[in-house]
Amino acid sequence: MTERQGNGPVDRTNEYVRIEHVTKRFGDFVAVDNVTLSIFKGEIFCLLGGSGCGKTTLLRMLAGFEAPTSGRIFIDGQDMADTLPYERPVNMMFQSYALFPHMTVEGNVAFGLEQEKLPRKEIAQRVAEMLDTVKLGELARRKPHQLSGGQRQRVALARALVKKPKLLLLDEPLGALDKKLREATQFELINLQEKLGVTFVVVTHDQEEAMTLASRIGVMDRGEIVQVGTPTEIYEYPNSKFVADFIGSVNMFEGRMIEDEPNYVRIQTPDLPCTIYVDHGISAAPGATVWAAIRPEKIDIEREEPAGRDNRARGVVRDIAYMGDMSIYLVKIDGGKMVRVTLPNSVRQLSERISWDEPVWLTWDASSPVILTQ
């Protein structure tokens, strides 16, 4: 059974990597805290988090450069406990690319195959094929310092993939590239992965990168995995304030539940004169403090007062950031809170668009807010 959510097929019946209660300590510092995670064959799994959250340490444990203080790691059913990096069916693409400066591109890519003691003809053939795949065929004889950043990255990729590893680990693969190149490379990576069918584990702090590349994302904070899901799940159904805030932007309203029914909930918040009405039930203690998270694109701006008692606010447009395809509006609502709203610029006439200091009404659908209890 395969489902396609986000990017890449996710075969949930084929668990390829299992990380079981893995903890890593450096002295007193806990870098990875009791992480349990499954990664499926053929997917692109992204470990997403800020610096110091433990994602790189976890990646290095998969590669074999660090050993878990406790817990076990299984790759394709095998316990990797005593397996050293050069014995694992895992290859890594380093953040700095780590190309061998004294070898040519060909030499770099062939290195891994040479360790497998394959016949020279076969090595040459596979290297040539891989270089063609990453479109570096003409640069085979060059040395790393003679290549641009994007070219070096492709060499690093070719070098790791030519060994046909079961698992490819990528450490901040797009970090060193400029914006245009990054976008192009993102799609190239996805295509490459689909073509070769290798399971990818990507570590990144860039949420855009994660959203584009991943079939599933694991958000990490301070050594723990806080949420695992497809990009859609993470974005639309975050399980905590941290995740909601970390991915994209969000408007957070803190309040109390005043009505708690199986099919709807009403929340009162000091930030708004009205109540927030949500059209599904949630499990929380009555009277508990909750947060309503509403994404900027889910909010509508209107000049006319909307119908209904809830899910609306009046305010004044304080700031507009024009992005070309859309605009970000910062609206100060009655009560003082700044609400962020994004609207596509679907109308070309400037006169028709909302402008600074205009009094407006904000409104959103009852299904739009995500209610968070932590």
Binding site: F94, F100, F111, S148
Partner: protein
């Protein structure tokens, strides 16, 4: 700050004058006809007679040849041992005896040579009593002694080079399936080769130049060049020594100059290639 640059220039001028005037005076007076090294005999100078005398002096030539042999063997041995020690200290984790190894490799750097020389001679004597080797002192004892103190310097050079070495290169090699020994020989060693070479040259110079330790551990029939020079120079100045000094300074100076030029050229070529690479995408 104008006054700053004035001060800087004076400091450099006097400093380099202090460093180089003695050497230059030695060179100049090697061409002086008079035996009195400090009085310029204007009538018959400049002359090459001291050079001729030097090249006919069997004792000095023999000692020079011995010193070269000793230095070459020492440098090679010191480089092997020093690289191993440097590798161990820079890359291996804690092990029993690590502090001892670390101490033993840095102590020779500051230890007064008389102590090192004395202790080694005593060792050789003791060994000779115990197991019959070494039979008297000579080439091998000098080499052993020189290797022991020269390897300390090589260790420091190699250790510091490994510290600034990007170890993600080694990790990448491990990741691609190479065992640690393979990684060392195919990745680390080629890239630290310049440091190892400079370590070799350093060890060579230290051995070639050593007097005190050699005096202790040399035997009859194995006299190194510094020993010959020292016994001559104790008695006063001697112009053929000036000639020797000039020859040495010239060789060293040329060597340093050539290597500096060659390295500049390398750097420039490298920088150019990197610039060109940035231009493509």
């Amino acid at each position: 700050m104008k006054s700053q640059s004035w001060f800087r220039r004076l400091a450099l001028f006097f400093g380099f004058a202090f460093l180089y005037v003695p050497i230059l005076s030695m060179i100049v007076f090697s061409f002086n006809n008079s035996r009195l090294v400090t009085v310029w005999d204007a009538d018959d100078s400049p002359t090459l007679k001291w050079y001729r005398q030097l090249l006919e002096n069997e004792q000095i030539l023999g000692a020079a040849w011995l010193s070269i042999k000793v230095a070459a063997v020492t440098a090679t041995g010191a480089v092997i041992l020093g690289t191993l020690a440097g590798l161990v200290l820079a890359r291996f984790g804690p092990f029993r005896g690590r502090t001892l190894l670390s101490g033993m490799t840095t102590a020779p750097l500051v230890m007064p040579e008389v102590i090192t020389g004395l202790s080694l001679l005593l060792l050789f004597v003791f060994l000779e009593q115990l197991i019959g080797w070494p039979q008297g002192r000579g080439f091998s004892t000098i080499v052993i002694a020189h290797v022991t103190f020269a390897m300390a310097y090589v260790t420091v050079v190699v250790q510091s080079r490994l510290a600034t070495f990007d170890d993600s290169l080694e990790e990448a090699a491990l990741d691609l399936g190479a065992r640690p020994a393979k990684v060392f020989f195919r990745i680390t060693l080629p890239l630290i080769l310049p440091a190892i070479l400079s370590g070799w040259l350093l060890a060579f110079t230290l051995s070639w130049d050593d007097l005190v330790i050699s005096q202790f551990v040399a035997g009859p029939g194995s006299t190194t060049l510094p020993m010959v020079v020292f016994s001559k120079v104790r008695l006063g100045v001697s112009p053929d020594i000036n000639a020797l000094a000039t020859i040495m300074v010239t060789i060293v100076g040329l060597g340093v100059l050539l290597s500096a030029i060659w390295m500049r050229r390398q750097e420039r070529r490298l920088a150019l290639e990197m610039q060109m690479a940035k231009a493509d995408k």
